[in-house]
C-alpha cells in the first residue's frame, strides 16, 4: 500500500481570461481503501484549494462526481485507487458545459431532457391525498425500480459516440426513462405518444448501438436491453401505423 500516485488533472477556469486549458500533476501517497473522492479532497486540502470538482453524497447516489477516469466516464466516489494504475488521468465529462477543472453542469441538460420527454406520470385521474396508494404487483414495481436507479450522472452521455457527434441526441438515459414510463401502468400515455417523443433520430433511431452507455453506467442499469426493447417497440409501431395509414387512404 505504499504507492505514490500521480494524478494528472485537467485545469481550466472559463471565468478567468488568463486561464488556459492544461494538465497539472499532483502527487499523493495512497492510503487504505482510498477512493478518488478521498484523493481529490486531500489534494484540495493539502495542495491546491482552487481545484474545482463536484461531490455531494460520496456514496454513488447524487451523481455529481462523474468524470473521465483514465479514459472512461465513471463516478469518482465509487472508484477505488487500488483498481487503477499509479498514473491516473482525470478529465471533466465531455458533452456537458464546463464550469471549471473537473466540474461540469449536468443539471441544465437533465432538466431540459426531463421537460422534453415529459418525465412524469401522465394521468387523467384526480389526485386524492387522502386515498390509499394504488397497489402494484411487486415484480412490476421491482422492474420499474430497476430502471429508476439512474442517478443522472451523465456518464452514459459522455461515453456515447452519437451524443458526442450530435448534440440533439437524447441519449440512453432519456430512452431508459421512457422505458420506465412505458412499464408503469399509472401512465396513460399510449404507444403513439411515446413514438412522438423518441420515434426519431433524436431518440431511438439515432442510437447507433455502440454500447458505450451500457459499458460505463456506474449504476449498471440495463441500458442495452432497454434500447433494444424500445427500437423494436417503436419500429413495429411505425410499421403498424404505416399499414393503418394505407388502409385509411384507400
Amino acid at each position: 500500500m505504499d504507492r505514490m500516485l500521480t494524478i494528472n488533472i485537467f485545469r481550466y477556469n472559463p471565468q478567468d481570461p488568463d486561464s488556459k486549458p492544461h494538465m497539472e500533476s499532483f502527487y499523493i501517497d495512497e492510503t487504505e481503501s482510498m477512493t478518488l473522492f478521498i484523493a481529490l479532497n486531500r489534494i484540495r486540502e493539502e495542495q491546491d484549494p482552487s481545484l474545482q470538482f463536484d461531490f455531494c453524497c460520496r456514496a454513488g447516489i447524487c451523481g455529481q462526481c462523474g468524470m473521465v477516469i483514465n479514459g472512461r466516464p465513471n463516478l469518482a466516489c465509487k472508484t477505488k485507487t487500488k483498481d487503477l494504475p499509479s498514473q491516473i488521468t482525470l478529465l471533466p465529462l465531455p458533452f456537458f458545459k464546463l464550469i471549471g477543472d473537473l466540474s461540469v453542469d449536468t443539471g441544465t441538460w437533465f432538466r431540459e431532457m426531463n421537460t422534453h420527454i415529459e418525465s412524469w406520470i401522465h394521468t387523467s385521474k384526480e389526485f386524492d391525498p387522502e386515498a390509499e396508494e394504488e397497489r402494484m404487483d411487486n415484480e412490476l414495481a421491482e422492474q420499474i425500480y430497476e430502471l429508476d436507479r439512474c442517478v443522472e450522472c451523465g456518464c452514459c452521455l459522455a461515453a456515447c459516440g452519437t451524443a458526442r457527434m450530435r448534440e440533439d441526441f437524447l441519449g440512453a438515459v432519456a430512452l431508459n426513462r421512457i422505458a420506465r414510463f412505458i412499464l408503469d401502468p399509472r401512465d396513460e400515455r399510449e404507444e403513439k405518444d411515446y413514438f412522438e417523443i423518441i420515434g426519431n433520430d433524436q431518440g431511438i433511431f439515432g442510437c447507433m448501438g455502440l454500447l458505450g452507455c451500457e459499458d460505463v453506467c456506474p449504476k449498471n442499469l440495463p441500458l442495452q436491453d432497454q434500447l433494444g426493447f424500445l427500437r423494436r417497440k417503436m419500429g413495429f409501431f411505425a410499421l403498424k401505423d404505416l399499414k393503418r395509414g394505407k388502409k385509411k387512404t384507400c
Partner: protein
C-alpha cells in the same frame, strides 16, 4: 398544445423508423448475398469445370445479368441509408476519433471499423462488379488471369477481409440495436460472430488460393 395530426405530418415523423428498417433489411439481404457468393466462388475448390458450370448456370438463367445490377442497387441503397449516421463533417470526425481513442472501448472501435470498411467496400465492390460484369461470361480461366495481373491479388485479399469484417460487425450491431443480442448473451454472441467472420475469411481464402494455383 394538442392537434390532430394530418397525414402529411404523420408520414414525415415515421421516416426515421422506415429508414432504419430499410437499413437493417437491406443489410440482411446483402449478408445473405455475400454468403451465397462465397459458396458460389468456393465451387472452384472442386475444379475449374465445377466453377464454370455454376457461372454458366447464373448467366444462362440471366441471374448474373439481372441480379448483378440489382445487388449493386441494394449496395448503394444500404450505403446511402447507413451514411446518414457516418460523420462526413470534419468536426464530427475529429470528435468521434478523439472519443474512440479516449474510451478504449471495443464496441466504439467496432463501429469505426464498420464505417471505414463500409466505404472501402463501396469503392472496391464497384470496381469488382465493373470488371466482372463488363466481361461476361465469368470463367475460372479469366479469374486466374486477373489474379496474376498487376496488384489484383492484393486487391482481393483486402477486399475479402473488409467484407468479412463489415458483415460480422454489421450482424452483431444489428442484433444489439434491435434487442436480439442482450446483456446476458452479448459476450457469447460476439464470440460466435468472430468465428463467423473467421469462417467467411477462411472460405474465401481457400477459394483464392485454389484459383491462384489452378492449372488452366
Amino acid at each position: 398544445m394538442w392537434s390532430d395530426t394530418t397525414m402529411h405530418v404523420q408520414s414525415s415523423t415515421r421516416t426515421p423508423a422506415v429508414l432504419d428498417w430499410l437499413e437493417v433489411l437491406s443489410g440482411i439481404g446483402l449478408v445473405l448475398f455475400i454468403m451465397g457468393h462465397s459458396l458460389f466462388v468456393a465451387s472452384v475448390i472442386f475444379g475449374a469445370s465445377t466453377f464454370n458450370g455454376m457461372a454458366g448456370f447464373f448467366e444462362n438463367t440471366g441471374l448474373a445479368q439481372v441480379g448483378g445490377p440489382i445487388i449493386g442497387l441494394v449496395f448503394l441503397l444500404h450505403f446511402v441509408l447507413a451514411a446518414r449516421k457516418i460523420p462526413f463533417r470534419a468536426a464530427q470526425q475529429s470528435v468521434i476519433w478523439k472519443h474512440a481513442r479516449m474510451m478504449h472501448h471495443e464496441d466504439t472501435w467496432l463501429w469505426l471499423i464498420q464505417a471505414v470498411t463500409g466505404m472501402l467496400i463501396l469503392l472496391m465492390g464497384s470496381i469488382h462488379m465493373w470488371v466482372l460484369l463488363n466481361d461476361l461470361p465469368i470463367t475460372a480461366e479469366k479469374s486466374v488471369a486477373l489474379l496474376y495481373a498487376g496488384t489484383w491479388l492484393w486487391f482481393y485479399l483486402f477486399f475479402l477481409l473488409f467484407v468479412a469484417m463489415h458483415v460480422a460487425i454489421g450482424v452483431y450491431r444489428a442484433g444489439v440495436k434491435w434487442g436480439y443480442i442482450r446483456r446476458e448473451n452479448r459476450a457469447r454472441m460476439k464470440k460466435y460472430l468472430y468465428i463467423f467472420a473467421g469462417v467467411l475469411v477462411a472460405i474465401d481464402l481457400v477459394s483464392l488460393i485454389r484459383f491462384y494455383f489452378l492449372s488452366v
